[in-house]
Symmetry: C2
Subunit: 404 residues, 2 copies
Amino acid sequence: MFKVNENYLKLPGSYLFSTIGKKVNAFVQDNPEKKIIRLGIGDVTQPLAPAIIQAFHTAVDEMADAKTFRGYAPDLGYEFLRNAIRENDYIARGCQIEADEIFVSDGAKCDSGNIQEIFSQDNKIAVCDPVYPVYVDTNVMAGRTGTYDSRKETWSNIIYMPCTAENNFAPELPKETPDLIYLCFPNNPTGSTITKKQLQEWVDYANKVGAVIIYDAAYEAYISEEDVPHTIYECEGARTCAIELRSFSKNAGFTGVRLGFTVIPKELKAGEVSLHSLWARRHGTKYNGAPYIVQRAGEAVYSDAGKVQLKQQVDYYMNNAKYIYDGLKSAGYTVSGGVNAPYIWLKAPNKMTSWEFFDYLLEKANVVGTPGSGFGPSGETYFRLTAFGSYENTMEAMERIKKL
Amino acid sequence: MFKVNENYLKLPGSYLFSTIGKKVNAFVQDNPEKKIIRLGIGDVTQPLAPAIIQAFHTAVDEMADAKTFRGYAPDLGYEFLRNAIRENDYIARGCQIEADEIFVSDGAKCDSGNIQEIFSQDNKIAVCDPVYPVYVDTNVMAGRTGTYDSRKETWSNIIYMPCTAENNFAPELPKETPDLIYLCFPNNPTGSTITKKQLQEWVDYANKVGAVIIYDAAYEAYISEEDVPHTIYECEGARTCAIELRSFSKNAGFTGVRLGFTVIPKELKAGEVSLHSLWARRHGTKYNGAPYIVQRAGEAVYSDAGKVQLKQQVDYYMNNAKYIYDGLKSAGYTVSGGVNAPYIWLKAPNKMTSWEFFDYLLEKANVVGTPGSGFGPSGETYFRLTAFGSYENTMEAMERIKKL
């Protein structure tokens, strides 16, 4: 008789955003006349930029002609895209990353979920708390996290690094030594960042203790301050300890297009075994490449026209972020984030829990946000709003919230 | 100090098609003047059908307008696509499959590699021998296959079901009881099929012993004979024992577009736990949906125009298959497959091994095929040719082979 993966059964509840989706759907069903404004899930709303649309149409036409048709993509992604990434995201920032150290994929969510597979089951992970739930959940599914304490909402075999108002939402080096360290800056959900000097401390620490940093830089396009690193490879020594995850979802609106990439420098090794070779093997065996037309669209992100258009898109969302931030401040809320990230992190008022505030906001203002506790125990009493709505909806949501 | 997944290190060599790619590249470098014809990897060559191109352009234009832009897709895939699949692939064949039992994905390779994750590590798998290497390799990576015997090229903890000329390339029920049974019909690589009555025996067997059949039907569009089932759900009782994997790669030329789906009936359970809920959890946690534009292209596969155009495409490839089959027969080769599948399976002449024949064919005829031994030990001395080339190339390849 077959048996199921028991680790899956340890997961409490469903995936955070599925739960939110169900709650919102139920509310909509009961209140069909209400206009819901969604500032919850980090999904973009602006259409794809003209340069990207153009690249899509051209690539689709290539697929219509036997002479230019493309079947299976190269394992790691097309060279035209990997070269554009290398040039713009790394060489231009003074970071020596080779094109064959870049693995093109269908998005950073998949990569951040799958990357743990190339490590043995007895590695100990450290995560920021609160944090994007995929890091923890995928390690639970792999049986790496021990037992769940439903009262504390923590796993026995995870090192939690609290990010709270006290430490300015920046994690401190853990007391217990981890094997894998998940870092995400600009941070989801808090919208906080750390300086290059602070990140250098993490790189030095990882090299010292023999840990790997899995660095999620999905929001780097939103960095506005000078001293904040855009990639971990700006830090010295990162090539021997860091894997970087990147996305096209937030800088180019690809949430429904699906494109991302992972960088693994060839020096990153356990003894003689390079993580690069293991990830290449996983890509070759379990994945079949991002669609050609999507990789062409990704290339257009780095074109001159694409850069100008996407800068405007990021500015549009960051204008929303400022609008939310300032509005909440003026309404007396305790707020952070929103300067180098499209997320605003606020303290729920009147000692409400995160989910209480979620229900309150949904019922009273018909605005959907994300409960901070869904990202980890230290997120309790906090709440995330995203700047990815339209300007009009963002304005209206803020009017409603201010009136509460 | 972090540790790697040691199971990865047990894998012998690299992924089959990566090895072939490297060998061919080396030959091309040494012989730049030679015109290589590739009948190796099962990659299509005909351009996308006009109905699909049209659907792509329309969907791309939707992404250019904020009113019709789509971000994150629903976890399981868009309803328009799941309804079209249900209606055409199941209801039309008298199989009761619900739209919410269909999980849209970026291809059957990923699904066939990932599906083992929802089962516990101590399940025992049974595979046809020879077989598509992804089934075995992904179970190796999960630590489910025991130790490798490099002389026999087998794993200690896998039940191999030889498919040879003696049993007409149809597996027999295994003597030892498996927990998971991988079946692929029409078969890759042998191109063989089994009848509905034969498949019913497998379903009855699986229900009796409490095994799950993972049924890969990626090539069902190539079935030309009456008595061959297009889906395992044509068999009674399949809803309590079978998962079906399907692809758009071969019926619609989507190898570079990436779209597939997996069906898990809700009755398929271990005690109270439904595999449907586990796979839904995996999808929600580690995957972020197939691109909207690709799902619209998939919908066009089921349009009236799409059906007519794709029937022509399948006929085109099957004409190649007949051409290869007849040509090899007349040249004195022992041949099978090619009737319900785009693959021709031949015996290497003059007692050559599979790889010897691979090298011989590459050097003497500049034709690339796939060594049968790459699919499993019982594939040794066999060789696979695909019908996915252009007609002109297929003709030329056969002229060259006949001259050997």
